[in-house]
Protein backbone atom coordinates (compact mmCIF):
# COMPACT_ATOMS: atom_id res chain seq x y z
CA UNK A 1 0.00 0.00 0.00
CA UNK A 2 1.09 3.55 -0.76
CA UNK A 3 0.06 6.12 1.83
CA UNK A 4 -0.02 9.84 0.96
CA UNK A 5 0.08 12.57 3.60
CA UNK A 6 -0.53 16.30 3.18
CA UNK A 7 2.43 17.59 5.13
CA UNK A 8 4.17 20.77 6.21
CA UNK A 9 7.57 19.06 5.91
CA UNK A 10 9.34 16.04 4.49
CA UNK A 11 10.01 13.75 7.49
CA UNK A 12 8.08 11.47 9.84
CA UNK A 13 8.28 14.22 12.48
CA UNK A 14 6.68 16.84 10.19
CA UNK A 15 3.20 18.03 11.10
CA UNK A 16 0.28 17.15 8.85
CA UNK A 17 -0.73 20.13 6.69
CA UNK A 18 -4.49 20.43 7.34
CA UNK A 19 -5.07 21.82 3.84
CA UNK A 20 -5.42 19.59 0.83
CA UNK A 21 -5.13 21.90 -2.19
CA UNK A 22 -2.56 24.20 -0.66
CA UNK A 23 -0.53 21.63 1.23
CA UNK A 24 3.21 22.39 1.30
CA UNK A 25 4.25 18.83 0.54
CA UNK A 26 2.73 15.54 -0.42
CA UNK A 27 4.67 12.84 1.43
CA UNK A 28 4.39 9.25 0.24
CA UNK A 29 5.12 6.22 2.40
CA UNK A 30 5.49 3.00 0.47
CA UNK A 31 4.72 0.22 2.94
CA UNK A 32 6.31 -2.38 0.71
CA UNK A 33 9.70 -0.75 0.36
CA UNK A 34 9.35 1.17 3.67
CA UNK A 35 10.49 4.24 1.77
CA UNK A 36 9.39 7.79 2.60
CA UNK A 37 9.49 10.35 -0.21
CA UNK A 38 8.23 13.92 -0.51
CA UNK A 39 6.87 15.96 -3.41
CA UNK A 40 7.09 19.75 -3.16
CA UNK A 41 3.65 21.26 -3.74
CA UNK A 42 4.53 24.86 -2.87
CA UNK A 43 4.02 26.03 -6.46
CA UNK A 44 0.28 26.24 -5.77
CA UNK A 45 0.99 29.24 -3.52
CA UNK A 46 0.96 31.40 -6.63
CA UNK A 47 -2.45 30.18 -7.73
CA UNK A 48 -5.43 32.32 -6.81
CA UNK A 49 -7.81 29.56 -7.82
CA UNK A 50 -7.57 25.94 -8.81
CA UNK A 51 -5.20 24.75 -6.07
CA UNK A 52 -7.52 21.84 -5.31
CA UNK A 53 -7.62 20.56 -8.87
CA UNK A 54 -3.87 21.13 -9.35
CA UNK A 55 -3.04 19.11 -6.23
CA UNK A 56 -5.54 16.42 -7.24
CA UNK A 57 -3.66 16.05 -10.53
CA UNK A 58 -0.41 15.64 -8.61
CA UNK A 59 -1.89 13.12 -6.19
CA UNK A 60 -3.34 11.18 -9.10
CA UNK A 61 0.08 10.89 -10.68
CA UNK A 62 1.53 9.56 -7.40
CA UNK A 63 -1.33 7.04 -7.29
CA UNK A 64 -1.49 6.35 -3.55
CA UNK A 65 -4.01 3.90 -2.09
CA UNK A 66 -4.70 6.05 0.95
CA UNK A 67 -4.65 9.81 1.56
CA UNK A 68 -4.25 11.16 5.09
CA UNK A 69 -5.06 14.84 5.52
CA UNK A 70 -6.64 17.39 7.88
CA UNK A 71 -9.64 19.41 6.84
CA UNK A 72 -10.43 17.27 3.84
CA UNK A 73 -10.51 18.31 0.19
CA UNK A 74 -12.81 21.10 -1.01
CA UNK A 75 -15.57 20.79 -3.58
CA UNK A 76 -13.49 20.78 -6.76
CA UNK A 77 -10.83 18.48 -5.33
CA UNK A 78 -13.51 16.10 -4.03
CA UNK A 79 -15.04 15.89 -7.49
CA UNK A 80 -11.63 15.08 -8.91
CA UNK A 81 -10.67 12.61 -6.20
CA UNK A 82 -13.93 10.69 -6.66
CA UNK A 83 -12.41 9.43 -9.89
CA UNK A 84 -9.56 7.88 -7.98
CA UNK A 85 -9.97 4.64 -6.09
CA UNK A 86 -8.36 6.06 -3.01
CA UNK A 87 -9.35 5.98 0.63
CA UNK A 88 -9.41 9.53 2.09
CA UNK A 89 -8.87 9.93 5.84
CA UNK A 90 -9.31 13.30 7.53
CA UNK A 91 -8.92 15.04 10.91
CA UNK A 92 -5.23 14.20 11.17
CA UNK A 93 -4.24 17.85 11.70
CA UNK A 94 -1.92 18.71 14.61
CA UNK A 95 -0.38 15.22 14.38
CA UNK A 96 3.05 14.31 13.11
CA UNK A 97 3.13 12.01 10.12
CA UNK A 98 4.25 9.19 12.40
CA UNK A 99 1.34 9.74 14.82
CA UNK A 100 -1.10 10.03 11.94
CA UNK A 101 0.16 6.80 10.41
CA UNK A 102 -0.23 4.98 13.74
CA UNK A 103 -3.76 6.30 14.13
CA UNK A 104 -4.56 5.15 10.62
CA UNK A 105 -3.20 1.68 11.39
CA UNK A 106 -5.39 1.55 14.50
CA UNK A 107 -8.41 2.61 12.48
CA UNK A 108 -8.77 5.84 14.45
CA UNK A 109 -8.98 8.27 11.52
CA UNK A 110 -12.24 9.32 9.97
CA UNK A 111 -12.90 8.27 6.39
CA UNK A 112 -14.78 10.53 3.97
Amino acid sequence: MKIAFTSSGTTWESIIDPRFGRTEYIVIFDEESQELSAVDNSSVKNEAHGAGTATSQRVFELSPDVLITGNGPGDNASTALKHLKMKILVNAHDLTLRQAYEKYKNGELKEV
Binding site: E47, T53, A54, S56, Q57, N76, T79
Partner: protein
Protein backbone atom coordinates in the same frame (compact mmCIF):
# COMPACT_ATOMS: atom_id res chain seq x y z
CA UNK B 1 -28.89 71.50 -13.36
CA UNK B 2 -26.80 72.37 -16.34
CA UNK B 3 -26.73 70.00 -19.24
CA UNK B 4 -23.39 68.55 -20.29
CA UNK B 5 -21.77 65.37 -21.51
CA UNK B 6 -23.04 62.13 -19.99
CA UNK B 7 -21.41 61.37 -16.65
CA UNK B 8 -20.46 57.85 -15.64
CA UNK B 9 -19.91 57.67 -11.92
CA UNK B 10 -18.82 54.68 -9.85
CA UNK B 11 -19.79 54.43 -6.21
CA UNK B 12 -17.14 52.34 -4.50
CA UNK B 13 -15.42 51.79 -1.17
CA UNK B 14 -12.56 49.80 0.16
CA UNK B 15 -14.37 48.53 3.19
CA UNK B 16 -17.69 46.75 2.83
CA UNK B 17 -20.78 48.01 4.59
CA UNK B 18 -19.90 51.69 4.44
CA UNK B 19 -23.02 52.72 2.53
CA UNK B 20 -22.41 52.29 -1.21
CA UNK B 21 -25.89 50.96 -1.87
CA UNK B 22 -27.49 53.53 0.42
CA UNK B 23 -25.78 56.32 -1.48
CA UNK B 24 -26.34 54.76 -4.93
CA UNK B 25 -30.05 54.22 -4.50
CA UNK B 26 -30.74 57.54 -2.78
CA UNK B 27 -28.68 59.52 -5.26
CA UNK B 28 -30.31 57.79 -8.23
CA UNK B 29 -33.84 58.34 -6.91
CA UNK B 30 -33.01 61.94 -6.04
CA UNK B 31 -31.67 62.68 -9.53
CA UNK B 32 -34.68 60.92 -11.08
CA UNK B 33 -36.97 63.50 -9.52
CA UNK B 34 -35.68 65.89 -12.16
CA UNK B 35 -34.02 63.95 -14.95
CA UNK B 36 -33.20 60.61 -16.44
CA UNK B 37 -30.70 58.47 -14.55
CA UNK B 38 -29.38 54.94 -14.93
CA UNK B 39 -28.38 52.96 -11.85
CA UNK B 40 -26.43 49.75 -12.43
CA UNK B 41 -25.88 47.34 -9.55
CA UNK B 42 -22.54 45.70 -10.31
CA UNK B 43 -22.14 44.02 -6.94
CA UNK B 44 -23.12 40.89 -8.84
CA UNK B 45 -22.29 38.49 -6.02
CA UNK B 46 -24.89 40.11 -3.81
CA UNK B 47 -26.85 42.80 -5.62
CA UNK B 48 -29.22 44.60 -3.27
CA UNK B 49 -29.92 48.03 -4.74
CA UNK B 50 -33.14 46.59 -6.12
CA UNK B 51 -34.51 46.20 -2.61
CA UNK B 52 -34.89 49.96 -2.39
CA UNK B 53 -36.41 50.62 -5.79
CA UNK B 54 -39.85 49.66 -6.98
CA UNK B 55 -39.82 49.47 -10.71
CA UNK B 56 -41.46 47.47 -13.39
CA UNK B 57 -39.28 44.76 -14.88
CA UNK B 58 -38.98 45.43 -18.59
CA UNK B 59 -36.25 43.01 -19.60
CA UNK B 60 -34.40 39.96 -18.39
CA UNK B 61 -31.77 37.75 -19.96
CA UNK B 62 -29.37 35.04 -18.87
CA UNK B 63 -25.66 35.71 -18.62
CA UNK B 64 -23.35 33.07 -20.07
CA UNK B 65 -19.72 32.25 -20.26
CA UNK B 66 -18.02 29.87 -22.67
CA UNK B 67 -16.41 26.76 -21.23
CA UNK B 68 -14.96 23.65 -22.87
CA UNK B 69 -16.94 20.43 -23.00
CA UNK B 70 -15.00 17.21 -23.28
CA UNK B 71 -15.85 14.93 -26.18
CA UNK B 72 -14.57 11.56 -25.06
CA UNK B 73 -15.09 9.96 -28.47
CA UNK B 74 -12.61 12.32 -30.15
CA UNK B 75 -10.04 12.66 -27.36
CA UNK B 76 -6.60 11.09 -27.76
CA UNK B 77 -5.69 11.93 -24.12
CA UNK B 78 -2.56 13.79 -25.21
CA UNK B 79 -2.78 16.08 -22.19
CA UNK B 80 -2.12 19.40 -23.98
CA UNK B 81 -5.35 20.88 -22.62
CA UNK B 82 -4.45 20.47 -18.99
CA UNK B 83 -0.89 21.67 -19.54
CA UNK B 84 -2.01 24.93 -21.14
CA UNK B 85 -4.72 25.67 -18.58
CA UNK B 86 -3.34 28.33 -16.24
CA UNK B 87 -6.33 28.00 -13.95
CA UNK B 88 -6.27 24.25 -13.35
CA UNK B 89 -9.77 24.08 -14.75
CA UNK B 90 -8.86 20.92 -16.64
CA UNK B 91 -7.20 17.88 -15.16
CA UNK B 92 -6.36 14.56 -16.65
CA UNK B 93 -6.97 11.46 -14.60
CA UNK B 94 -5.70 8.55 -16.61
CA UNK B 95 -7.89 8.23 -19.69
CA UNK B 96 -10.37 10.85 -18.45
CA UNK B 97 -10.36 14.62 -18.89
CA UNK B 98 -12.20 16.53 -16.17
CA UNK B 99 -13.40 20.10 -16.78
CA UNK B 100 -14.21 22.42 -13.86
CA UNK B 101 -16.36 25.11 -15.49
CA UNK B 102 -16.35 27.38 -12.42
CA UNK B 103 -12.55 27.66 -12.61
CA UNK B 104 -12.52 28.31 -16.36
CA UNK B 105 -11.62 31.84 -17.50
CA UNK B 106 -12.88 31.26 -21.06
CA UNK B 107 -9.44 31.82 -22.59
CA UNK B 108 -10.08 29.14 -25.25
CA UNK B 109 -6.47 27.86 -25.06
CA UNK B 110 -7.45 24.23 -24.45
CA UNK B 111 -10.13 24.30 -27.10
CA UNK B 112 -8.00 25.99 -29.76
CA UNK B 113 -4.90 23.89 -29.13
CA UNK B 114 -6.71 20.56 -29.07
CA UNK B 115 -5.64 18.89 -32.29
CA UNK B 116 -8.75 16.73 -32.58
CA UNK B 117 -11.46 19.23 -31.54
CA UNK B 118 -12.33 17.24 -28.44
CA UNK B 119 -12.97 20.36 -26.36
CA UNK B 120 -15.57 22.49 -28.13
CA UNK B 121 -16.57 25.64 -26.23
CA UNK B 122 -20.19 25.68 -25.13
CA UNK B 123 -22.16 28.35 -23.27
CA UNK B 124 -22.69 27.89 -19.54
CA UNK B 125 -25.29 29.98 -17.74
CA UNK B 126 -23.69 32.04 -14.97
CA UNK B 127 -26.52 34.28 -13.86
CA UNK B 128 -29.27 36.66 -14.87
CA UNK B 129 -29.47 40.30 -15.88
CA UNK B 130 -32.62 42.32 -15.19
CA UNK B 131 -33.72 45.77 -16.16
CA UNK B 132 -36.37 47.74 -14.31
CA UNK B 133 -37.96 51.05 -15.08
CA UNK B 134 -39.63 53.57 -12.79
CA UNK B 135 -40.23 57.01 -14.28
CA UNK B 136 -36.88 58.66 -14.94
CA UNK B 137 -35.00 55.88 -13.18
CA UNK B 138 -33.64 52.95 -15.14
CA UNK B 139 -32.27 50.23 -12.94
CA UNK B 140 -30.14 47.34 -14.19
CA UNK B 141 -28.69 44.53 -12.10
CA UNK B 142 -26.92 41.23 -12.66
CA UNK B 143 -26.91 38.37 -10.23
CA UNK B 144 -24.38 35.52 -10.34
CA UNK B 145 -25.68 32.00 -9.87
CA UNK B 146 -24.69 30.26 -6.65
CA UNK B 147 -21.28 28.63 -7.01
CA UNK B 148 -20.06 30.93 -9.78
CA UNK B 149 -16.70 32.42 -8.86
CA UNK B 150 -16.02 35.03 -11.48
CA UNK B 151 -17.67 38.40 -11.18
CA UNK B 152 -15.59 40.25 -13.77
CA UNK B 153 -17.13 38.92 -17.02
CA UNK B 154 -20.63 39.53 -15.66
CA UNK B 155 -19.70 43.05 -14.57
CA UNK B 156 -18.23 43.81 -17.99
CA UNK B 157 -21.30 42.51 -19.77
CA UNK B 158 -23.71 44.39 -17.51
CA UNK B 159 -21.86 47.68 -17.99
CA UNK B 160 -21.86 47.17 -21.74
CA UNK B 161 -25.60 46.48 -21.69
CA UNK B 162 -26.33 49.61 -19.63
CA UNK B 163 -24.13 51.95 -21.66
CA UNK B 164 -25.37 50.46 -24.92
CA UNK B 165 -28.98 50.94 -23.95
CA UNK B 166 -28.65 54.43 -22.43
CA UNK B 167 -25.63 56.05 -24.12
CA UNK B 168 -26.94 59.58 -23.64
CA UNK B 169 -28.17 59.44 -20.05
CA UNK B 170 -26.83 62.46 -18.18
CA UNK B 171 -26.05 60.26 -15.19
CA UNK B 172 -25.09 56.60 -15.09
CA UNK B 173 -24.27 55.39 -11.59
CA UNK B 174 -22.42 52.13 -11.00
CA UNK B 175 -22.85 50.55 -7.58
CA UNK B 176 -19.50 48.74 -7.19
CA UNK B 177 -18.63 45.65 -5.19
CA UNK B 178 -16.50 46.40 -2.11
CA UNK B 179 -12.76 45.88 -1.99
CA UNK B 180 -10.02 46.79 -4.43
CA UNK B 181 -9.62 43.60 -6.43
CA UNK B 182 -10.50 42.78 -10.06
CA UNK B 183 -14.30 43.23 -9.77
CA UNK B 184 -13.92 46.77 -8.37
CA UNK B 185 -11.30 47.62 -10.99
CA UNK B 186 -13.60 46.40 -13.76
CA UNK B 187 -16.20 48.88 -12.49
CA UNK B 188 -13.97 51.94 -12.17
CA UNK B 189 -11.60 51.53 -15.11
CA UNK B 190 -13.60 53.57 -17.62
CA UNK B 191 -15.77 55.87 -15.51
CA UNK B 192 -15.49 59.65 -15.29
CA UNK B 193 -15.47 59.86 -11.51
CA UNK B 194 -15.41 57.64 -8.44
CA UNK B 195 -17.32 58.44 -5.27
CA UNK B 196 -15.72 56.60 -2.37
CA UNK B 197 -17.98 55.98 0.58
CA UNK B 198 -16.16 55.50 3.86
CA UNK B 199 -16.71 55.64 7.57
CA UNK B 200 -14.51 57.69 9.90
CA UNK B 201 -12.89 54.72 11.65
CA UNK B 202 -9.36 53.27 11.46
CA UNK B 203 -10.69 50.33 9.43
CA UNK B 204 -12.58 52.67 7.12
CA UNK B 205 -9.48 54.81 6.61
CA UNK B 206 -7.22 51.82 5.98
CA UNK B 207 -9.43 50.48 3.22
CA UNK B 208 -10.14 53.95 1.86
CA UNK B 209 -6.43 54.50 1.31
CA UNK B 210 -6.20 51.18 -0.54
CA UNK B 211 -9.12 52.22 -2.74
CA UNK B 212 -7.51 55.61 -3.44
CA UNK B 213 -4.27 53.89 -4.49
CA UNK B 214 -6.22 51.65 -6.85
CA UNK B 215 -8.14 54.54 -8.38
CA UNK B 216 -4.94 56.52 -8.86
CA UNK B 217 -3.43 53.62 -10.76
CA UNK B 218 -6.27 54.15 -13.24
CA UNK B 219 -5.79 57.94 -13.13
CA UNK B 220 -9.43 58.51 -12.21
CA UNK B 221 -10.58 61.49 -10.17
CA UNK B 222 -12.37 60.69 -6.94
CA UNK B 223 -14.15 62.26 -4.00
CA UNK B 224 -15.08 60.96 -0.59
CA UNK B 225 -18.41 60.75 1.17
CA UNK B 226 -18.08 60.16 4.89
CA UNK B 227 -20.96 58.07 6.13
CA UNK B 228 -21.82 57.52 9.80
CA UNK B 229 -20.09 60.79 10.52
CA UNK B 230 -19.64 61.38 14.24
CA UNK B 231 -18.26 57.98 15.19
CA UNK B 232 -14.55 57.15 15.20
CA UNK B 233 -12.07 59.98 14.80
CA UNK B 234 -10.89 62.74 12.44
CA UNK B 235 -8.21 60.75 10.66
CA UNK B 236 -10.22 60.31 7.46
CA UNK B 237 -10.68 64.07 7.14
CA UNK B 238 -6.99 64.63 7.79
CA UNK B 239 -6.08 61.98 5.23
CA UNK B 240 -8.29 63.55 2.57
CA UNK B 241 -6.79 66.99 3.22
CA UNK B 242 -3.24 65.65 2.99
CA UNK B 243 -4.01 63.77 -0.19
CA UNK B 244 -6.03 66.60 -1.76
CA UNK B 245 -9.14 64.49 -2.08
CA UNK B 246 -12.37 66.46 -1.92
CA UNK B 247 -14.86 65.50 0.77
CA UNK B 248 -18.14 65.71 -1.09
CA UNK B 249 -20.50 65.28 1.84
CA UNK B 250 -20.89 63.91 5.33
CA UNK B 251 -23.85 61.83 6.42
CA UNK B 252 -24.34 61.71 10.17
CA UNK B 253 -24.41 58.48 12.13
CA UNK B 254 -28.05 58.08 13.02
CA UNK B 255 -30.28 55.31 14.27
CA UNK B 256 -33.14 56.70 12.22
CA UNK B 257 -31.16 56.26 9.01
CA UNK B 258 -30.32 52.69 9.96
CA UNK B 259 -33.99 51.97 10.67
CA UNK B 260 -35.15 53.44 7.37
CA UNK B 261 -32.49 51.48 5.53
CA UNK B 262 -33.43 48.28 7.32
CA UNK B 263 -37.01 48.64 6.22
CA UNK B 264 -36.00 49.19 2.59
CA UNK B 265 -36.81 52.90 2.47
CA UNK B 266 -34.99 55.73 0.73
CA UNK B 267 -33.61 57.88 3.53
CA UNK B 268 -33.44 61.27 1.81
CA UNK B 269 -37.23 61.37 1.59
CA UNK B 270 -37.48 61.43 5.37
CA UNK B 271 -34.25 63.08 6.46
CA UNK B 272 -33.63 66.58 5.05
CA UNK B 273 -29.91 66.55 5.91
CA UNK B 274 -29.42 63.60 3.59
CA UNK B 275 -31.15 65.47 0.79
CA UNK B 276 -28.74 68.36 1.39
CA UNK B 277 -25.80 65.94 1.22
CA UNK B 278 -27.07 64.46 -2.06
CA UNK B 279 -27.41 67.93 -3.49
CA UNK B 280 -23.82 68.71 -2.53
CA UNK B 281 -22.58 65.55 -4.20
CA UNK B 282 -24.56 66.24 -7.34
CA UNK B 283 -23.38 69.85 -7.48
CA UNK B 284 -19.80 68.77 -7.18
CA UNK B 285 -20.17 66.25 -9.98
CA UNK B 286 -21.90 68.68 -12.31
CA UNK B 287 -19.38 71.44 -11.75
CA UNK B 288 -16.13 69.52 -11.46
CA UNK B 289 -16.37 66.25 -13.33
CA UNK B 290 -15.60 66.08 -16.98
CA UNK B 291 -17.82 63.59 -18.76
CA UNK B 292 -17.54 61.61 -21.91
CA UNK B 293 -14.77 59.18 -20.93
CA UNK B 294 -14.67 55.92 -22.78
Amino acid sequence: MTSQKPLKIAIASGKGGTGKTTLSTNLAAFIAEQQEVVLVDLDVEEPNSGLFLNGEMIHEEFNYKMTPQWDESKCTVCGICRKVCNFHAIIQLGPSILVFPELCHSCYACSELCTVDALPMVPKKTGILKEFSSGNLHFIESRLDIGEEQAVPTIAKTKKYAIGKFPDAQFTLFDSPPGTSCPMMEVIKDVDFVILVTEPTPFGLHDLSLAVETIRAYKKPCGVVINRYGIGNNDVIEYCQNENIPILAKIANSREIAELYSSGKLIYRTIPEVKVALNEILDYCLNNVEGGNK
